[in-house]
Structure formats: C-alpha cells, structure tokens
C-alpha cells in the first residue's frame, strides 16, 4: 500500500500545521509505516553515518580504482587547499574534498553508504562532514540531517526516479544534490518551506544530466560530478536561506526531472552507448582496458552458452 506522503508541498503544509521540523516529521512517518522505533531508526542511521566517516578518511589518504582510471583527486585537492588556493579557502573546497574522497573509495570497491545510489554516494556526506563543524551540529542533529535527506529523497524517488538507468545522472547526482540542499537548510535553522525551495533550486540546476560513464565504470565522469553535486547543494541552500525562492514549485520540478528521464534516449541512461562514453578518447580507453585487463586475477574464458 502506498501510504507515504505524495509530495513535498503536503509535507511542508503538515509541518507548518503542527509546528515541527522536516526531520521530526520524516522520523514519525518512518516509525509508523515501517513498524519500528525511534531508537532503532537512530541506531541504524548512526551506523550509516560512521560508514560515511570511515569512507571519507580512507579516501583522503588516497585510493586508486581497479581500472586505474581514477583516484587520488581528493588528496590532490586537499594539498591544493593546504598550500592556499588563489581563490582563498572556502567551505566549498572542503566539501568537494570529502565528496571526491568518498566516491573514489566507491570506485575502488571500498565500503560506502549509498545516498541514494553508490555512484552518487559522495554528495551528501561531503556536505554533512563539512558543515557539522561550522554549524556545531551534535550527533543527533547529524542523524536528523540524514533523516531529512532520506525523507526528501523518498519524495523524489516516488515522484520521479533515483536510478541512472531510468532517469540519467540527474536522477542520481541530481537527486543527491537536491536532498542534501534540503537537509542543509534545516541544519542551518531554515524553515521546511526554505528546504523545499533549496531542493527545487538544486534539482533544477542539474536537470537533463545524462548518465554516460566511460567503459560502463562508475568513475568517469561520476566522481567529479559528486564534487559538483555538493557545491550545487550548498549554493542552493545558501540561496534558499537568503529568501530566494524557486519560481517553479518543488513538486513540479521533481516531476519535470522524471519526465525528462523518460524522454532521455537509452544511450544516455547508464548503457555507455552515447555521450562521453562514446567519445574517441573514451573508446580508446575502453579498448585499452579490455585488451590489457585491469585486474590481476586470472581471466575467465569467454564462450557462448553451452547449456
């Protein structure tokens, strides 16, 4: 039975009526619909948060993917920051480092928490791990951040999609960025309505983004898009907190994302048959990876089915 609130405007309305935050509202629904308790939800979320923390520190130390195509960019950016960026230090730079680190760990088959997918797993923790110090968020407030992000992610998933195969990268990094923006607004003391505008603004900025990974690997362009996803989330949150509103209502933006996804050709939905994946360089990389083999283990024989 489909009992979850249908759209964000209903959620904002209900929060305003009872004077509660988005995280309180989403937590209450979680407990009722999934027959669980606040204690269980918080302890499961705590486990997820600790996975994000360990993935970030692992990635910061520098990892390389099996293909050898990616890795080490988080470290590069951290060194750049330590040596003093010509543009000055910023929370944007710090967030990008966290996001790159976590998604590089994902590409290297490390342990991550999907938010909402593995390919977009750097965006949300990039913002949380950066802003929790600046906003002095205690552990409970950090878990609330994840609950708000999760609840808004459900609203996106049920009205549109969070799958690259269904809706392209706008459904993965786009959704991740949008739900992060909504959670950031609440963490910074904004209203549920401002969270809705932040989500709408963040998602609008990434509409139409295709999923065209080189050699079908979750590496190029996925990892750097996680860094852009977190920057976009922070920018949208700052705009919303300043009172800037999305001219298109949040649920219409979400539905537009779903509609664009359905119009998107299959070649741009995680098949590696179009876009960046079919550029001459990507094709050369793919051939090279196939010929050389990028893993050390014994190669299986490729045969037609014999059964």
């Amino acid at each position: 039975m489909k009992l979850y609130p249908k759209n964000f405007s209903t959620v904002v309305h209900n929060c305003n009526l009872s004077g509660i935050s988005l995280s309180r509202y989403f937590l209450d629904i979680e407990i009722v619909l999934n027959e669980t308790t606040e204690e269980i939800v918080l302890s499961k979320m705590e486990k997820n948060l600790s996975v994000m923390e360990s993935a970030a520190s692992k990635g910061m130390a520098g990892v390389t993917s099996f293909s050898g195509l990616t890795g080490g960019d988080a470290k590069r950016l951290a060194t750049f920051r330590a040596n003093g960026s010509p543009f000055g230090d910023s929370h944007y730079l710090e967030a990008m480092i966290h996001s790159l680190a976590i998604n590089e760990v994902n590409a290297a088959m490390g342990v991550i928490c999907a938010t909402p997918t593995a390919g977009s797993s750097g965006v949300l923790p990039g913002a949380l791990l950066t802003m929790r110090d600046r906003l002095n968020l205690d552990r409970r407030a950090q878990l609330n951040f994840l609950i708000t992000a999760g609840g808004t992610g459900i609203l996106i998933g049920n009205q549109a999609s969070i799958s690259g195969a269904e809706g392209g990268c706008q459904a993965e990094v786009g959704s991740a960025s949008a739900m992060t923006a909504a959670a950031l607004v609440e963490a910074a003391g904004g209203t549920p309505s401002q969270s809705a505008h932040a989500l709408a603004i963040a998602l609008k900025n990434l509409l139409g983004l295709s999923c065209d990974p080189v050699a079908s690997l979750v590496e190029v362009p996925c990892i750097k898009r996680n860094a852009v996803g977190v920057v976009n989330a922070i920018a949208a949150a700052e705009m919303a907190l300043a009172g800037i509103e999305s001219r298109i209502p949040v649920d219409e933006v979400i539905q537009a994302m779903g509609s664009i996804g359905r119009m998107m050709p299959v070649a741009l939905r995680e098949t590696a048959l179009g876009g960046l994946a079919q550029t001459p360089t990507a094709c050369r990389m793919t051939t090279m990876l196939q010929e050389e083999g990028h893993i050390l283990w014994p190669f299986p024989t490729v045969t037609s089915d014999d059964q």
């Binding site: 979850y4 999907a114 593995a118 969070i162 045969t303 037609s304």
Partner: protein, 238 residues
Amino acid sequence: MAYFQSVFDIIGPVMVGPSSSHTAGAVRIGLAARFIFGEQPEEVDITLYGSFGHTYRGHGTDLAMIGGLLGRPTDSDDIRYAYELAEKEGLEVNIKVSDRNVAHPNTARVVMYSGNRSMSMTACSIGGGMIDITEIDGFRVRVSFDNPTVLFFYRDRPGMIARVTRILADHTINVSHMQVSRKEEGSQALMAISTDGAIPEKVMAEIRLISELGPIISLTELMREPDSAPIDSMGEQE
C-alpha cells in the same frame, strides 16, 4: 517503478562499491545460492549474462558473487580479494560469460558442486541491490524478496499440492503467491509458496510429516537478512 517508504531505501545500503545493481546485488545472489545449497560448495560454475557479462570486471561483479558464495556480507571490505579468499577457503571457481539473450540484463547462473551433490540457481539483479531468483535446480521460479517463501521438492503425483495447502488453510495462513513446476509428468516437482507472514515452526513440522515430500527449503531467513544470510541458522535441508 520502484516505491520507497523508508529513509533507509535512500540512505543505504552500506555496501562495497561501485554499483548497487552490479556489486551489492551480485553479493546477494552469491549469498542466496550458498543459502539454498545449504553449505559452502567445493566448486562453482558462474555464468554471467547481459550487462553482467559485459561490465563485470569494472564493477567487480565476479568478486561480489564469489564473496557472497563465501558467505561475505554486502559490506565486507575483503570482497575485492575474493579470488584469493576462494583459494584459501577451498572454493574452486569457474567463470564464464555468455552472449545468450536473457530476459533481464543483469542475470547470473550458478552451479554448485560438493561431493556428489550439485545444484543450480539463476537470479537477476533488478536494481538498488534487490534480486529475483528465476531458477532453482532446473525449475523455473520467480522468487522476489517481498514475501516469505518456502520451497517444497516432491515427486509429481495427484493431491500433493492440496495436502500442503490444506495444512496452511487449517492454520489460516494466507498464500500470497504460489508456483508449481515439474520436469515431466510423474518426475521431480517443485512447489514455491509465498505467504503473508512467515509460516510458524509448528505448522512447518506438520507439513514435514507428509511422507512423500522431499527436501524443504525455507527462504524466510534469507529474506530477513539478504545482506548476510548465515547458512548455519537454516531449518530443514534434505
């Protein structure tokens, strides 16, 4: 289309990268195969179809499946060393890629051997780490993970289905989905029964008294813990 109603559908699962469908789903296929076999096999033939076959190296789909067959949960950090682990833990692995057309792009078939026992299982990874089992030991099935399911193997003969379902009816257990398949008339048959809520142990004991029934495999535990499903907590097996 997927429908979400828990924040943990969005914030989670905790898994080894890089892909929920090609990695986390593949671990769960391996875990399911091991669970159904009832022990860790000595040897396994793995055939990868469709997108699994084309992209398995980049996604570590082979490592993930072997990890699952070795009983490693989806968030096990040593899945990347699956070939070395298999060698150490006495599992011989043969991997093949097939270009045969399959209904779902992310499909894998596993044939497990141990002593003189062997068993096959086919499953597909349907996204977000979820899997469907489509074949068990040569029988076509469709086992999703949304309802507790029990597999009953028996020799095809009149009245068997009625005898099992009558016991369920006597205990007011509602069957949500049921499939029956057989290799040929009068030969080995399989009944896959999904129920609203797990079948209580007391009722299972009653069903086991039907002498003509062969092995009974309850997938309930596997569905409760698809990320780690321990084989030592299984009920009846042979």
